[in-house]
Symmetry: C2
Subunit: 123 residues, 2 copies
Amino acid sequence: MTTDVQLLDSAEFLASVKFDAQGLVTAVVQDADSLEILMVAWMNREALEQTAELGQAVFWSRSRRELWHKGATSGNFIDVEEILVDCDGDTLVLLARPQGPACHTGARSCFFRRLASDLEQEQ
Amino acid sequence: MTTDVQLLDSAEFLASVKFDAQGLVTAVVQDADSLEILMVAWMNREALEQTAELGQAVFWSRSRRELWHKGATSGNFIDVEEILVDCDGDTLVLLARPQGPACHTGARSCFFRRLASDLEQEQ
């Protein structure tokens, strides 16, 4: 069972997104095929608009304070198939097809470390 | 193809998490079976420790400024199977089994609104 999804046009979608005091929302990138979560980054309005227009992920780099077209340096662009927004408008999910590793470490996903269970820790 | 995962014990895991200036990290809740992304919330160190101990999601409510054991009011607890941390330590993924709708609207997932494609918008 998955969730019934409502379709919003561009104006409705942008109006539904609630940018925070820094003008940002959280963006979760999920592989459209495997559904693996690949990375989490930030977007301002311009990054979101460019992502929708290009069909490739564009984020806001909080450290460099600039728009960041993911892959522009590495070649590892992320093609975006669908963009969803959550109930309170402060988080996006990008269903996407990465052209290479999403993580700057070269890993396919940034989430490559897991808390071992009690049983695993005893081993 | 999915990502090779490294196992960390409790001390290693906690040391790898980088809480922000407000003492928080982003937590993405993903259904362990369907891999659907259910919700995104925030955790401080205590919420993370309680989550690992209870095996149920405990968040930090930024609006109420208190620990929030998800389901304590609604009964819709979220059983947590695995916790992952990303490369730079500022985001967690919880692989989880929800006991009911994750969204306060009653939807299974908070991500029930999608940007229509150009083709869909023309229809």
